[in-house]
């Protein structure tokens, strides 16, 4: 790799290429959303969880503000806080998202309380805030550049909702409508800033890496939402046997590994009948153990881990 910086046009092309390859408009969940294939429950899970992402946006934008010594930059960037938080109660993007939540049939306060946010979604969104907090101004701004691709996805989404989900009130779509104009405006500023301030090849590469990382984060958010509606069951290749060293526990033996499952895990495995979704399994266990904290989170994390290890397969 040569060390000379890319020309502004070539650098911009690199940044855009990341979106072409990795932006979450290509995630299977988004594809299904835009094809009209999501169930009401899936759409609700998405709206509920994506709200957590929305709440992290002003937090990371505040962090970016603290990194800049330039009044002109801050004047421009603070606009984003106004966009999300509004200038008065009842205004702004977060409010619009809560209205969307209501129109898809969720209770506004319930969504706003952030109860029921999936652990994988929480991790993805927190990772974004951490990425921005730990970065210098250039990289922090670069991580926002997924906005370059957001205008288009909002348009697709609006059209898809009107066509495929007529039960979602047009009122509720105001957030998407607002972003079709805000995202390109924000992206133009962010892009100009990054192109101007990434002076060395190394800086440019750090910016590209930040956009890649951000795409990964958005992708994993949808992975978690999607997994919540899959129906796990024991892999046909697994042999479950008693763990003779741990009463109540089992050992799941597969072709490449043996996985020890404790008693609590065994209760979850027993609920994986291929008919219940992960969400339903989590509710079932929560109802059975009302006094244990974080049951639903633990269930989702356990199911994800077992699927990764091949103990469970999910359709």
């Amino acid at each position: 790799m040569s060390d000379a910086p890319l020309s502004p046009a070539a650098f911009e092309a690199r940044l855009r290429a990341v979106g072409t390859e990795r932006y979450h408009d290509k995630h299977p969940f988004n594809l299904r959303m835009h094809e009209g294939e999501l169930s009401r429950a899936e759409l609700q899970t998405w709206v509920r969880n994506r709200y957590y992402y929305q709440t992290r946006i002003p937090v990371k934008d505040s962090a970016i503000l603290t990194k800049s010594g330039d009044p002109a930059f801050r004047r421009e960037w603070v606009q984003r806080l106004h966009d999300h938080d509004g200038r008065a109660p009842g205004e702004g993007g977060l409010e619009l998202w809560l209205r969307l939540a209501e129109t898809v049939g969720l209770a506004r306060d319930d969504v706003a309380s952030l109860a029921g946010v999936l652990p994988g979604v929480r991790r993805a969104c927190d990772a974004y805030v951490e990425l921005v907090e730990g970065a210098d101004l250039l990289v922090a701004v670069a991580a926002s550049l997924t906005e370059l691709f957001a205008g288009d996805i909002m348009k697709t989404r609006l059209a898809a909702f009107e066509k495929h989900y007529p039960w979602v009130d047009a009122e509720g779509l105001a957030y998407f409508r607002s972003r079709t104009t805000q995202a390109p405006r924000d992206a133009r500023f962010g892009l100009a800033f990054v192109v101007e301030n990434a002076k060395t090849r190394a800086d440019q590469e750090r910016c590209v890496a930040a956009v890649e990382k951000k795409c990964e984060i958005l992708w994993s958010l949808l992975d978690a939402v999607e997994a919540a509606h899959r129906r796990p069951r024991l892999s046909p290749h697994v042999v479950l046997r008693d763990d003779d060293e741990r009463p109540g526990g089992k050992v799941a033996v597969l072709s490449e590994r043996a996985v020890r499952v404790n008693e609590a895990g065994c209760e979850i495995l027993a609920a994986c009948d291929g008919a219940r979704t992960a969400e339903e399994i989590a509710s079932l266990l929560r109802a059975r153990h009302p006094d244990t904290p974080h049951v639903a989170d633990d269930v989702h994390d356990f199911l994800g881990e077992m699927e990764r290890l091949g103990v469970l397969v999910a359709a």
């Binding site: 046997r241 060293e245 597969l254 091949g310």
Partner: protein, 360 residues
Amino acid sequence: MSAAGAPRLWNLVAELTYRCPLRCPYCSNPTQWSAIRDALDADAWGRVFREAAALGAVHVGLTGGEPSVRGDLAEIVRAAADAQLYPHLVTAGLPLTESGLAALRDAGLRSVQLSIQDADAEASDAIAGTPSFERKLAIARAARALGLALTLNFVLHRRNLGRVGEMVALARTLDADRVELANAQYDGWALRNRDALLPSREQLEAASAVVAAERAKASRPELVWVLPDYFSGRPKPCMGGWGARLAVVAPDGLVLPCHAARDLPGLAFWNVRERSLRECWHEAPGMNAYRGESWMREPCRSCERRAQDFGGCRCQAFRLTGDAANTDPACALAPRRDAIAAARQRPASDALRYRDARSS
């Protein structure tokens, strides 16, 4: 730790024979393989399996050489299943047949790991040293049709790293559950052929990117890819630790902590023909030589990674530094890491020496 001080045995690797119709130039069998005869019949293996289960084992990998050259493979599989071990077959795909595989399934086989030498028929046959690609595909399809778990194993090197994408595509076509994209380990035959096999860093980086892109496409098949220790600066956590979880029983009955430990000088391993597996696992001096951490020298002794990588591979330490107790030279902290650096700087060669029966 069990009462006698040795950890629980989880996994048995049963090397049923070193015979094989293929001649891969990176074969991990001993270079003197032809002098080691198949000394255990199906009954003897059955006894070993029952003893392994009693020591805690839940799984047995039936491997070789090529296990299907044995006429009694179905009996051996049945003995493993009867002992409550999960029987897993590691095969090159021949002389195994579809009906033979069905018989193994009926005997209790659960899963198959099939080696394929390349994504391309000609290149695969060239590395295998014998026409075999089409047979392998037939066995993969049969495994799928029989409901067996299917892993494909591609050993990677300079000549095929550029086709990792094609390998994954082939695995998708064959509907494999898992694909091991396994960079050659430079021991045994592979060490002899290192100049012809060792890839460049650029090749590895390109392959890494391909794997990442393929992983993003779909969660299945599971893609196993690890940057090889020669390039990562991180030694491999060999066998999950010496004598820590896994025992290899060689065709002659010798019980080893890994498939290559036979050649380490000064280590006495014991044989299941003469003693119980329990004794061979718990008490053989060779088994205990590098168990735990007390044998370690600096920098491993005080390194915080020692519980994760156990100081790396003893065989590699011996082969490249002359002393198996040294830190694996693949480690960036190893005093003798120059041994790896030197290998990477050597000019590439085109001369492959295929596995053969001459001992040298």
